[in-house]
Symmetry: C2
Subunit: 418 residues, 2 copies
Amino acid sequence: MKVSVIVIGDELLLGQVVDTNSGEIARHIAPYGWEVNDVQAVGDDASEIRRAIDRAFELSDVVLTTGGLGPTKDDITKSVLRDYFGGELKEDAEVMANVMDVVGRRGFKINKLTAAQAIVPTSCRVIQNRVGTAPIMWFEKDGKVLVAMPGVPFETREMFQSEVFPQLRRKFNSDVDIEHAVLMVTDYTESGLAEKIAPWEEALPDYLHLAYLPKPGLIRLRIDGVHRDKDFISGEVRRAASELLDMLGDAVIATEDLTPAQILLNQCRQKGLSLATAESCTGGNIAHELTLVPGSSDVFVGSVVSYSNEVKMSLLGVNSRTLDENGAVSIPVVKEMAVGVLRATGAKVAVATSGIAGPGGGSEDKPVGTVCMAVAMTVDGNTEVFAESRHFPGNRGRVIDASTTRALIDAIKLVRSI
Amino acid sequence: MKVSVIVIGDELLLGQVVDTNSGEIARHIAPYGWEVNDVQAVGDDASEIRRAIDRAFELSDVVLTTGGLGPTKDDITKSVLRDYFGGELKEDAEVMANVMDVVGRRGFKINKLTAAQAIVPTSCRVIQNRVGTAPIMWFEKDGKVLVAMPGVPFETREMFQSEVFPQLRRKFNSDVDIEHAVLMVTDYTESGLAEKIAPWEEALPDYLHLAYLPKPGLIRLRIDGVHRDKDFISGEVRRAASELLDMLGDAVIATEDLTPAQILLNQCRQKGLSLATAESCTGGNIAHELTLVPGSSDVFVGSVVSYSNEVKMSLLGVNSRTLDENGAVSIPVVKEMAVGVLRATGAKVAVATSGIAGPGGGSEDKPVGTVCMAVAMTVDGNTEVFAESRHFPGNRGRVIDASTTRALIDAIKLVRSI
């Protein structure tokens, strides 16, 4: 089943917010064999919205819109939909009860603008929005469906997954099965990996498709299989994944679509090892990546973000001589940081970073993008430390992201070794 | 000048990556009075790409594409463009030299796939990509321009800003001026704010437009003015901003489009105060937000991410009795964390959090989403502490984001008070 998505709002075209809704929708429907055919982003402009709906109905039987349903003056989607599908705008008592309930739970009082959320076109069927005030509207036309959803990402996700998509599934039966497998590959560039597996890739049958999804330091290799026979395609995808695994060996750090943080947490949990970080240039981002994972608290104990040299010495016990002789961005310092955070927190595995994220602070010897990373692990009273220095291209955010990923991968490899 | 953007790649429609390029482009061109008219996301499919280009040329004189130029088999944009604009595919010596240079700087060797990047349609003019291997291609047709850029966000940003946009500006003269002002507003809901300023907003002249850009805990209120007379519109936008400021008073925490982290760092820098964080449920995210800001190291000294109670006690000196009597998620504990990190790091301002980000860990008394936040500041030897407990809706990531923002706002208000 093909789906067209229209994301609505001037803020999208001004680049003030990033559309994550279309991606959420796509990821959720893919396992059911549904796919997003195209995404259009348009402003809060009646003729642009109408034109986008026309185009979407040309391509797809299901059209999903997000956004443009807020209580403020610039949101006009509701009246555009009334013009498009007919009917009139009328207050809906059930929606009003829901709006009052949602607003009340947030501890606010209802006002004129919020109350206007309860006015909906008579041509739609309403799906109550349990987590926000904008009602979800289901329109039908010539056997095709348009569902208008709010733009706030968590409302869209929650309501699309729990109500909208199940109802769409009931209406349109999907007749193909889609299966996929993912390998997380490190140590290769995209083109290096492509060259390595080229002969194999070229021999893939029509019903299997391979996609390269590079991130800094990591390539997600995704095999998609589409076929009417579920058992057949599931076997074929498994076979292809296992062939790739044979070819790539140790470079594959996971056979599930997990973040490096998830992989490391799973490994540590399995081996009963607690985890800490000591971060300078990554500034807490490794801890943040780890703690974004639900349940991380049974493995991750904490972190010291030692941005200043004073904190490196006072909280991590880094030797002042090591700092003076080597500078903060050096292998000896980052090793002492890793070992220091093991001591300070009692954790068994540590990840440490010290680098120059830029734009300032670079030198001939240590240009912006230079990052030293260390991982330390204590097993049976012995502490093993691995450290490396790398150079990452790009701006500050990219250096932080790339070194976060690489430091986590170094830890994954160290913990895997026991 | 109207611009249409086409973002290309199956990974976008599968929701495996999020398009940030169109937003980067929009934000960069807005100050010059250029605007993105629409964004289309299409897969790696020749007929879809052709159809999108047709549609884009209908709407705009400038079409920008990103993505689909990688070295792997699934990227087909280049051959589609050759078909569309004519000419033939031919190796370009200058591009080859550039590819070898870029690959060499990364410490890799060139392979067959990377070398293929140097093959370009003869119908385009190449703009050398200084930061990646995919060449940028400039096509013209009936006075309109299409520029094909790579999809890797940092390459697109770097090359669009330094080369592509300046060249587009030279070709098309813009004849209107755009001015804007931004107010960062807290303490209001979107509809509460809209109601408060409704009479004022309705009286705005045609050439001024107001947009509400809500984020958890914060609303960016943006005034855009478009007019041929630069001095006139600049005065009008300034006047509107100052009227809003009078109406909203203390709820405005900045009159520039800055993140809460940037605002707090600026305030601390101005007042000569160093800054630290002590984080439990935000897990390093506040430190990460702060250290994403270039130059943060002259204010921010570090952080203790005290995920476990042991680390709260050992590194922050939280009293075990305070923990036993109140639980980790409590006002007394988070106050001790804030004061503790001042002591541990020597900083003058501290932000601390302890909460239940979910999905597990909630109770009747303290449901998922409950977060206690404290800010502490030492001036002239006296330490002042402010703490509050709030409930944030949504999933784990949203609770972390919202409490990060709120804790930073609490600190902004405390530091502003002296």
